[in-house]
Amino acid sequence: MERVPVLKIGDILLVSIQLDMSDQTAVQLQDDLAERIVSTGCHGVIIDITALDIVDSFVGRMLSTIASISKVLDAETVVVGMRPAVAITLVELGLSLNGIRTALNVERGMELIAAARPDEYDDGEGGDEDADDETTDTR
C-alpha cells in the first residue's frame, strides 16, 4: 500500500501529498502523523497539496480531521500550495475548509507557524508560563 511520507524540518512536520487519496491512505496518514507529532514534539504541521488536481469533499474532510488531530496534540496545521483551479472549484461547490489555515507556499506556511508561536523559545527560560502554571496549581 502507498504511504504519504512525513518529513521533519526543524520544528515542523512536512506532509507532501502526491497521490490520489483513498480511505486507507488517509487513515494511514492520520495514524503516521499523530505518531510523529508525539514522538518528535513538533508544534507545526504543513500539508502541501500542490500536486493535487482535485480536492473534493473527501479530501476536504481528511484535511479538517488532520487539523483537528494536530490541534489536540498542540500543533498548528497549515495547508499550503492550493492551486487556483482547485480553489475556484471549492468555491463553486460551496465547500469551505473551515478551521484550516492556508498559505500560498511552504515558505509562507513556515512563517505563519513561526508567527503563531512567538513565545516558542520562552519555555526553557522559565518565564511567565511557569508562573501561570503555579497559579493554576494553587487554585
Partner: protein, 286 residues
C-alpha cells in the same frame, strides 16, 4: 430555382465564348461600385477566378450552387467574401461583385431578343442570385469570427494584474464585469498570487460602472478562493454612488476589508505587513 441541364451547358458555352467581353464588362461594373479601393489588376484576377469557377461548374453539370461540381466555385466565392470582409468593404459592395455579372450577361444576351433567350436569362440570373446569397453568408461569417476574435482580445487586454509592492498585487478592474470576464479575472489573479507568492491582493473597482448583486457575487467568490489559497484580498475604489447601491441591495462583504481608494488599501496592507513609511524632511527649507 435550379438550372436545367441544357441551360447549364448553354451558360458554360456563353461564358467561354464571350470570355473577354464578359470579364471586361464585369470588372468595369465592379470597379465603379468599389470606387478605386481595390486595384484593377487584383479585381481582374478575382473576376477571372470567378469566371473560370462558373464555367467549370456549368461544364461539370452543376444544376445549383450546392451540387458537387460547384465546389470550386464555392471556394472562390468564399475566398472573395473573406477578403472583402477583412478589407472593410460593406456587404453591398461585396454582393455587387457577384451581381455585376447579371448586367454583363444582360448586355450580351439583349441582342437576340426571343422567348428562349429570356428564359435562359432568368435561369442564369437565379443562379447568380444563389452565388450572391452564398457570398453574403460567407461575408457575415467572416465578420462574426472577426468580432469574436476582438472580444477575446479585449478580454485579454482588460484584466492586467500588477505588482505594486513586495508581496502585494493589484487588479484594476475596468468596464462591466460579466460572468466570463469575472472568471478570467479570478483565474489570472489566483495564478499571479501563486507565481509571485504574494499574500495580499487588492481588487480595485474604480473602473466598474455599476455593481449589482451578480458582480458582487463574482468579487466575493474571488476573495473566498484567494483565502482558500492563503492570500488576503482587499476591495478598493468604491465610489460614493456604488457604496449606496451596495447598501441598498443589501450586499454583505462580511469581514473583507473595503477601502475608498487604492492608496488607502495599499496603506492598510503595508500596516499589516509591518512596513512603515515616513516623509523625508525637505532640506531646502533649512
Amino acid at each position: 430555382m435550379a438550372l436545367r441541364a441544357e441551360e447549364s451547358s448553354r451558360l458554360a458555352g456563353l461564358l467561354s465564348e464571350h470570355r473577354e467581353r464578359v470579364t471586361h464588362r464585369w470588372v468595369e461594373l465592379v470597379a465603379n461600385s468599389l470606387r478605386g479601393r481595390l486595384s484593377q489588376a487584383e479585381l481582374r484576377r478575382q473576376v477571372e477566378d470567378l469566371h473560370r469557377g462558373m464555367i467549370e461548374a456549368a461544364q461539370g453539370g452543376a444544376l445549383d450552387l450546392e451540387s458537387e461540381a460547384a465546389g470550386e466555385l464555392r471556394a472562390v466565392l468564399a475566398e472573395l467574401s473573406r477578403g472583402r470582409a477583412r478589407q472593410g468593404f460593406t456587404a453591398t459592395e461585396t454582393a455587387v461583385s457577384v451581381y455585376a455579372l447579371k448586367d454583363a450577361l444582360l448586355e450580351l444576351m439583349e441582342t437576340e431578343a426571343d422567348a428562349d433567350t429570356l428564359r435562359d436569362y432568368v435561369a442564369f440570373s437565379s443562379f447568380v442570385d444563389q452565388m450572391g446569397l452564398f457570398t453574403f453568408e460567407s461575408f457575415v461569417r467572416t465578420r462574426e469570427s472577426l468580432i469574436a476574435d476582438q472580444a477575446e482580445q479585449l478580454l485579454e487586454l482588460s484584466t492586467p494584474v500588477v505588482k505594486i509592492w513586495e508581496g502585494v498585487v493589484a487588479v484594476p478592474l475596468v468596464g462591466t464585469l460579466d460572468s466570463a470576464r469575472a472568471q478570467v479575472v479570478m483565474e489570472r489573479l489566483l495564478q499571479t498570487l501563486v507565481d509571485t507568492g504574494s499574500p495580499y491582493a487588492i481588487i480595485d473597482i474604480t473602473g466598474v460602472p455599476a455593481v449589482d448583486t451578480q458582480v458582487a457575487q463574482h468579487i466575493l467568490k474571488t476573495v473566498v478562493a484567494a483565502r482558500l489559497m492563503g492570500a488576503d484580498c482587499i476591495i478598493s475604489g468604491i465610489r460614493p454612488q456604488i457604496a449606496q447601491t451596495i447598501v441598498a441591495l443589501g450586499i454583505e462583504f462580511g469581514d473583507i476589508a473595503t477601502k475608498a481608494s487604492l492608496a488607502d488599501a495599499l496603506r492598510h496592507v503595508l500596516r499589516l505587513t509591518g512596513v512603515t513609511t515616513s516623509r523625508r524632511q525637505s532640506r531646502r527649507e533649512s
